[in-house]
């Protein structure tokens, strides 16, 4: 192989390795596991260069935080288990009550004439089926009735001895004139009445063919109407339509047959049930909304056409992994939850969530069922990571927050810090002495021990963050090193002991330099 070929080959191998690791990582992502499972998470603590996904859509852990029980109590930390929940996302909309188009009736004059009496004489009057609503005097009908009477008289006069053909003719005549009356809407009993009374009554009673409410009245008493004139419009309000405008974005949540809750201003506290009956096929380009028709039973007539009502379109409850809204911190670029890892450890994790319901966000990625998320106190944990780093790059800072020496004590490591002089002096060098005992109770001499001092910035006061640090060396008994404390005041001190890049112990405390 020439040098060039060698280079190409090496590059190829390297690229292959990178690709393989990327694939593996994405495979684990896809399985919904966090890239840093709990067991491996300690390693993450001292490899700050590794995570911090910049991609806004990425999910996964980016910081780990340890907190003592006292600290947890102080911030009233609460956690909640993530499970699948019935997430009902409802669409809220404003609707207008309308008459059901399918239940409109028109009462019209079947014969011309004069309205002599009007029984239903105002709009809004309720009508029952068959209820008399007007008396019509129609000369035409009177003539026909007369004709019918004459035809009947004629028929009766014919008597039994009449020629069958004449009888037949007279009967036909009776029948025809009766038919005509019936076609005009004169009911049988009226006809019968006519038959019995002999003398033709000059009025026809107009009665309602349906139950409903007069929504329009076009006649007044004494008015002449012509055949076919509309006298009333009647609407049956036992079922009404509620038309709501649904915004484009909510459309996926609306189906025909979906249950709807209707509330009105007039009946606070009462809800009526309805169903989506129809979704209009067209979108109103003016308002960017789609009209949806809801059918509501209205037995008590509490919904009146024209009323504005609030409609809640209830979507079908779906079982989805849900996280309380209070658990999700939205930093604008990412959504972050803090997951309790058990013990005192918490992990900041970036998650992907769907549109929020009333109390919960559906989780799309980043969390598993059964994990516990922090629902109270998470803002403070998050800002703690910002104070000392954690979210590298996003908020500045470069060091993550560690709790009290819990982590250290857990593995049996014990750290003690001593400063000479005690109290330390600001503005000069001080000696830092650290002794480190392992789980076996013996002092460890082969660790790298580092002391970091931090005075957080006080932006409100124009004070910069101040840092100082020292690498301590083993002097035969303990670790010793000099660090200069820039100024008098309260310093937060972190002692960290590493061995071979692995953290043995960490101790955080405060010093008051004079």
């Amino acid at each position: 192989m020439t040098g060039n070929e060698k280079r190409i080959a090496a590059t190829g191998v390297l690229a292959g390795l990178v690709l393989a690791s990327v694939l593996y990582a994405s495979y684990r992502f896809a399985r919904g596991e966090s890239v840093a499972p709990t067991a491996a998470s300690t390693t993450r603590n001292h490899s700050p260069a590794e995570p911090a996904p910049d991609d806004a859509m990425a999910t996964g852990a980016f910081v780990q935080v340890e907190m003592t029980a006292e600290e947890q109590k102080a911030i009233q930390l609460r956690t909640e288990e993530v499970h699948r929940r019935d997430l009902q996302r409802s669409v809220l909309a404003v609707g207008r009550v309308e008459e059901a188009e399918t239940r409109l009736a028109t009462i019209s004059a079947r014969v011309g004439g004069r309205i002599d009496r009007l029984f239903a004489d105002y709009t809004g009057q309720e009508l029952k089926q068959g209820q008399a609503i007007a008396l019509l005097y129609s000369p035409e009908v009177v003539a026909s009735a007369e004709e019918y009477r004459l035809a009947r008289e004629h028929l009766e006069k014919l008597g039994p001895g009449a020629a069958p053909r004449a009888v037949e003719q007279a009967r036909d005549l009776v029948e025809a004139s009766r038919r005509r009356l019936e076609l005009w809407g004169i009911r049988e009993e009226q006809v019968r009445e006519l038959e019995q009374s002999g003398a033709p009554r000059i009025h026809i009673t107009i009665s309602s063919p349906v139950n409903g409410i007069i929504t329009e009245r076009r006649v007044t008493q004494g008015q002449y109407v012509r055949e076919g004139d509309v006298l009333y419009t009647v609407s049956d309000l036992s079922t009404v339509w509620v038309k709501v405008d649904v915004f484009e974005t909510d459309l996926p949540l609306v189906r025909v047959g979906q249950p709807v809750e209707i509330t009105t201003e007039s009946m606070p506290g009462r809800t009526l049930a309805g169903r989506v009956g129809f979704i209009e096929p067209m979108l109103n380009p003016q308002t960017r909304t789609v009209a949806v028709r809801i059918e509501v039973k209205n037995p008590r007539m509490s919904l009146r056409p024209g009323m504005y009502v609030h409609a809640t379109l209830l979507s079908r409850a779906e079982k989805t992994l849900a996280v309380p809204r209070s658990a999700v911190l939205d930093t604008g670029m990412r959504k972050v939850v803090y997951v309790a890892l058990g013990g005192d450890a918490f992990e900041g994790r970036q998650v992907e969530v769907g549109p929020p319901g009333e109390k919960y966000y559906p989780v799309l990625a980043g969390l598993k069922e059964g994990e516990r998320v922090v629902t109270r106190g998470n803002f403070l944990i998050d800002s703690q990571t910002r104070i000392t780093g954690g979210m590298t790059g996003l908020f500045g800072g470069s060091k993550e927050f560690a709790g009290e020496p819990t982590a250290a004590q857990k593995n049996g490591w014990k750290v003690t810090l001593q400063v000479e002089p005690d109290p330390p002096l600001g503005g000069t060098e001080n000696d830092f002495l650290v002794s480190l005992t392992g789980p076996d109770g013996k002092a460890a001499s082969d660790a790298q021990v580092r002391v970091e001092l931090l005075m957080p910035a006080m932006p409100a006061m124009g004070m910069a963050e101040m840092r100082a640090s020292a690498e301590l060396r083993w002097d035969g008994q303990q670790y010793r090193g000099k660090a200069s404390i820039p100024m008098a005041g309260r310093w937060s001190v972190t002692v960290e002991a590493l061995r071979g890049g692995k953290r043995l112990a960490r101790y955080r405390t405060q010093l008051n330099a004079r």
């Binding site: 102080a74 003016q286 549109p355 803002f379 800002s383 104070i387 910035a457 910069a464 101040m466």
Partner: protein
């Protein structure tokens, strides 16, 4: 001249006595009238222009308010710089004037310019001048407590208590905090608005037009005139509910049809909490230069006056009252002064054993102090720890002149009595002779002490403000003492020296001292090399010790009240912050050492308080020290509390009220070096700051590097899509109106209900604007009544933005802060600025400026480089005038390093850091050290002269004999001067009272230095003197000493 003064005084004794009686009266009068405060006001000479623009983001405030104001306010006469910050809802422009500019002159100039600048501001935005006070003037905080809801208490505070207290003389402002400002809230229901076909604008107009009373002149009825009023002011929720907005199909549409009206709390940026409970309170801010103590007392008196007028059960309870601190601090120094006077008197009794002559020394002491007060009054210096401290550290030196004078008179009298058997009849002559003999050296040595203190006046910045009063009062007192020494003291001598005199040899204390001193001096004269090496070794050791002493700016004054200041992330909500504070206050209140806890989040409504809501200031009143378990210190208690209060996400800061105010007020850069980047785009500034930080990191000496993060606060941006808006025929302005009114709420004016006024606010009901998702549904009315949801007209997104924008001289400012260690700052800045200029290219319109504390240091150093040599030279010249010999003068100056030795050791022994106070102590020490040296050398010379006169030309042995004699014979005045200086400072050092901690580091170097310089003067000076003279003897013939020493 001095002789003439002395002679004149002796001739006109009555006149002198009368004059000093008048001076005493004048001083006492001034003492009563001098304003009293705890510490000098350290704030810069500034005028704050404060502009409220409620609800606007820092960016809007910066662009539309701060910037136009800043550019207009530049270029006023005497303006040093204009710094500004734009925060959420308000803009604060600090116009910083030169120190020499009168504050009221400055305020008038700013006001003039504001008239012009106001036209460049958005409509309705009115810039106001901050009160003629500073944050340090917040001297009295109180809560208003009673069985009423916070809204009612707040209106009581706002409309009754506040204005009553504001009327107290000396009070510049009374600001309210906490509770709720009541407000008539019209919560719109957009659904109903749409239903009734009413637009928001119609409603706004209707409400605006329905809140007024009108007048219509008069109507005559009979012979009477009736004044006509048209009533229509809103007085209740019902009044608003019944306002007709429009007519809808013949029926009137009332406000109540489309909105819910209630009396609710206004949006707030400040919360007050007492022991975990919502509280209402106020801050009393005293006027600049006013007598804080008097003002507080008057406020308390006023509270007693108005308290009966408060509703049943309502009390005004103070939770921060600076008067006790002021009283304690001033008491501390009064006590110290008293103890000093007693001790000094005691020292005289021990050493002189002549009771009447003690009066000669102690009478001028209060007189000198009164003279200092007289001067203080006329130069406008207030009585505070620093100015009184100036007098306190001078006490020991004040009597020096008197001592030397009296001692000399006594000696002369003794000699006269020895020769003639009596002296009383001749006392006038004796005094004249004795006074004339020491008058000149006394005058010169006092002048040296005064001059040596001049470098303190060269301090600038905060140090200057802190120590100038001290330097002034010390100088005043010294000038007074000098005058007294050459006028009143001789007069008093003639009147008071009589009766039996006690010789130095008869004095027991002196006998003991002499018995110890003689062998020591003899040994030293015999082992000159050893003596000198020991002295040199001590000096070198002191130099080494100095390098191990830490440094700090100022030892903090224990203000008796502690302040707990937790700082949370800038994005914290007020609700969360309040919740946190409740919890913290609860924890604090549980502690047995805590008497009262009152916490404040955000700002009180005063421009002297710029605190953001992520900053909580909790004032902790601890139980009296006597109730603490034995051995507990305040530090222990705070440490314990801190441990309990450790919360993630919260940075605990423990400070004290005054100190915190001073810190908040100094808007400049407080690290050694600050790189300011000026430009007009925050993002570019932030990027450049990061670049500069990287470059600086590589330059040796740079530590504590920090590029200020500009962003950090979440913004919800509603970015209007103009095309979409155009498609629906909606003006951007309409969308803005909706954003402003619907989401933010809009105030439609005030109701007038007697003395009280409450805003009327219109806003969408909470449900329609509560979360980002909901905001997208807020409807905007377009042409022909279409209602379009906001989400379709604009992109709504969360982004990170600035939480506060700083600008300077009209340009936005980004900063990189750093300290320099291990090399000199000037050199560092030179190298760093070159590197930055080369490696960080600046876009057009951007530039870098280097500033920071080092500027002050440089300026101070430059001044000191000029002032110190001049002072040295002047002292040398004065010494030359005293001795007429450069050699002697230089010799006396040698006292300085040896004085330093003791000062350093004592500082180290007491664990004090080098602070400005310690430096000022050293400066004070130098003068005193030189002065004691002067006295010694004078006596040695005198002895040598006498020896020559007695035994003729000197031999080595006779010289040594003369030195022994001179040193021994005149042991008394030397020990006395040192003893009085020590006696004058000891009370400060052993005091544990309030304020003593500030004076201690100042007293320590003087005290230690006096001890070592006593040794130096007693042992080393004679040795050097002997050595010098012996060289002369070796060189010249031992025949004659032609010089005569005038002045002695």
């Amino acid at each position: 001249m001095i002789q003439q003064l002395i002679e004149f005084s002796l001739r006109n004794r009555f006149l002198i006595l009368l004059a000093y009686v008048l001076v005493a009266v004048w001083g006492y009068w001034a003492l009563l009238r001098t304003p009293i405060d705890a510490i000098p006001d350290l704030s810069e000479n500034q005028v704050i222009v404060f502009t409220d623009w409620p609800g606007r983001s820092p960016q809007e405030v910066e662009d539309q308010v701060t910037y136009p104001l800043t550019v207009n306010l530049q270029g006023l006469p005497g303006v040093r710089t204009v710094r500004s910050s734009s925060a959420f809802g308000f803009s604060m422009v600090n116009v910083i004037f030169e120190e020499s500019v009168d504050i009221y002159f400055a305020r008038t100039r700013v006001l003039e310019r504001l008239n012009l600048a106001a036209s460049a501001l958005p409509a309705g935005v009115v810039p106001t001048l901050g009160p003629d006070a500073t944050g340090v003037g917040q001297v009295f905080w109180y809560t208003v407590e009673g069985p009423y809801d916070p809204g009612a208490l707040r209106s009581l505070q706002d409309w009754f208590i506040r204005y009553q207290l504001n009327a107290v003389p000396g009070v510049a402002e009374v600001a309210s905090i906490g509770g709720f400002v009541r407000q008539y809230q019209i919560d719109l229901d957009p659904v109903r608005l749409r239903g009734y076909g009413v637009s928001t604008r119609e409603l706004l107009e209707a409400v605006e037009r329905s809140n007024n009373n009108v007048g219509a002149k008069v109507v005559e009825s009979g012979d009477m005139e009736l004044v006509v009023r048209g009533l229509g002011l809103i007085r209740s929720v019902e009044d608003i509910e019944n306002i007709v907005v429009a007519e809808h199909a013949g029926t009137p549409v009332y406000v109540r049809n489309v909105a819910h009206v209630q009396l609710g709390p206004d949006f707030r940026r400040g919360v007050l909490d007492k022991g975990g409970q919502e509280a209402v309170g106020g801050v009393v801010v005293v006027r600049y230069g006013a007598n804080a103590l008097e003002a507080i007392d008057a406020v308390k008196e006023k509270i007693r006056t108005i308290e009966p007028g408060l509703p049943d059960g309502v009390k005004i309870v103070a939770f921060y009252d600076r008067s006790s601190l002021i009283r304690h601090a001033v008491d501390t120094l009064r006590w110290a002064l008293l103890e000093e006077v007693l001790l000094v008197t005691l020292a005289h009794i021990v050493f002189l054993w002549h009771f009447r002559s003690i009066l000669i020394v102690t009478l001028p002491l209060p007189l000198a102090v009164l003279i200092a007060f007289g001067f203080m009054h006329h130069t406008g210096i207030s009585s505070n720890i620093m100015s009184l401290g100036g007098i306190a550290i001078a006490i020991g030196v004040l009597v020096d002149a008197g001592i030397v004078m009296t001692e000399n008179v006594l000696r002369h009298a003794e000699r006269y009595a020895d020769e003639h058997g009596h002296y009383e009849s001749q006392i006038g002559n004796i005094v004249r002779q004795a006074a004339l003999q020491v008058g000149r050296p006394i005058f010169f040595s006092m002048a040296i002490i005064i001059l040596a203190f001049v470098p303190v006046f060269a301090l600038t910045g905060m140090e200057g403000k802190l120590f100038h009063p001290l330097a002034f009062t010390k100088t005043f007192a010294m000038v007074g003492a000098t005058l007294l020494a050459v006028t009143l003291v001789p007069v008093l001598c003639t009147l008071l020296i009589r009766g039996k005199l006690h010789r130095e040899e008869q004095n027991r204390a002196m006998r003991v001292l002499r018995a110890a001193y003689e062998p020591l001096l003899r040994w030293a004269l015999g082992h000159r090399l050893a003596t000198l090496s020991v002295a040199a070794a001590l000096f070198v050791a002191a130099l080494y010790t100095a390098s191990t002493i830490g440094s700090e700016f100022m030892p903090p004054l224990d203000e008796e009240t502690a302040m707990y200041m937790p700082i949370a992330d800038p994005s914290i909500s007020l609700t969360k912050a309040t919740e946190l504070m409740r919890e913290q206050d609860r924890i604090l209140a549980e502690d047995p050492a805590v008497a009262m806890v009152v916490g404040k989040i955000g700002r009180a409504e005063t421009s002297t308080d710029p605190a953001p809501i992520n900053m909580t200031e909790t004032i902790l009143t601890l139980k009296p020290r006597s109730e603490w378990p034995a051995g507990t210190t305040k530090e222990d208690i705070l440490q314990r509390l801190d441990a309990k209060l450790r919360m993630p996400g919260v940075t605990n800061i423990w400070t004290q009220p005054i100190r915190n105010r001073i810190d908040m007020l100094s808007t400049g850069i407080r690290t050694q070096v600050g790189v300011k980047i000026f430009g007009d785009d925050l993002r570019v500034l932030e990027a450049k700051a990061a670049e500069i930080e990287r470059v600086l990191r590589e330059i040796p000496g740079a530590v504590d590097l920090y590029a200020e993060r500009i962003t950090g606060a979440p913004y919800l941006e509603i970015d209007i899509d103009r095309k979409a808006a155009a498609r629906y025929g909606i003006h951007v302005g309409n969308i803005h109106d909706v954003i402003e009114t619907a989401i933010g709420g809009k105030n439609l004016g005030m109701t007038i209900e007697g003395r009280e006024r409450f805003p009327v606010r219109v806003r969408y009901a909470r449900d329609f604007r509560e979360n980002p998702e909901e905001l997208g549904r807020v409807l905007v009315a377009g042409a022909n009544g279409v209602q379009i949801p906001l989400g379709q007209l604009a992109e709504i997104r969360t982004v990170m933005g600035p939480s506060m924008i700083s600008s300077e001289s009209g340009l936005l400012r980004g900063t990189v802060l750093l300290n320099v260690r291990g090399r000199d700052v000037g050199g560092f800045v030179e190298e760093a600025s070159r590197a930055v200029a080369e490696r960080v290219p600046m876009p057009a319109g951007y530039y870098v400026d280097w500033s920071g504390q080092y500027e002050n240091q440089l300026r101070a150093t430059r001044r000191l480089q000029l002032v110190v040599p001049v002072v040295f030279l002047v002292i040398l010249v004065l010494l030359y005038l005293t001795y007429h010999s450069w050699k002697e003068a230089l010799h006396v100056i040698l006292a300085v390093p040896f004085a330093l030795t003791g000062g350093v050791f004592l500082l180290k022994a007491l664990h004090y850091n080098f602070s400005v106070a310690a430096w000022v102590g050293f400066i004070a020490l130098f003068g005193t050290a030189v002065q004691t040296g002067v006295v010694m050398v004078i006596y040695l010379e005198e002895a040598v002269k006498r020896k020559i006169a007695a035994t003729g030309p000197l031999t080595r042995a006779s010289l040594r004999e003369a030195i022994m004699e001179g040193a021994l014979l005149r042991l008394r005045p030397k020990v006395m001067t040192v003893a009085t200086v020590v006696a004058g400072l000891l009370p400060i050092l052993w005091s544990t009272r309030t304020g003593a901690e500030v004076m201690k580091p100042l007293a320590a170097p003087v005290l230690g230095g006096m001890a070592s310089s006593l040794l130096h003067v007693l042992v080393v000076t004679p040795v050097i003197f002997a050595w010098l003279r012996e060289r002369e003897l070796g060189k010249a013939a031992l025949a004659e000493q032609p010089e005569s020493r005038p002045g002695l």
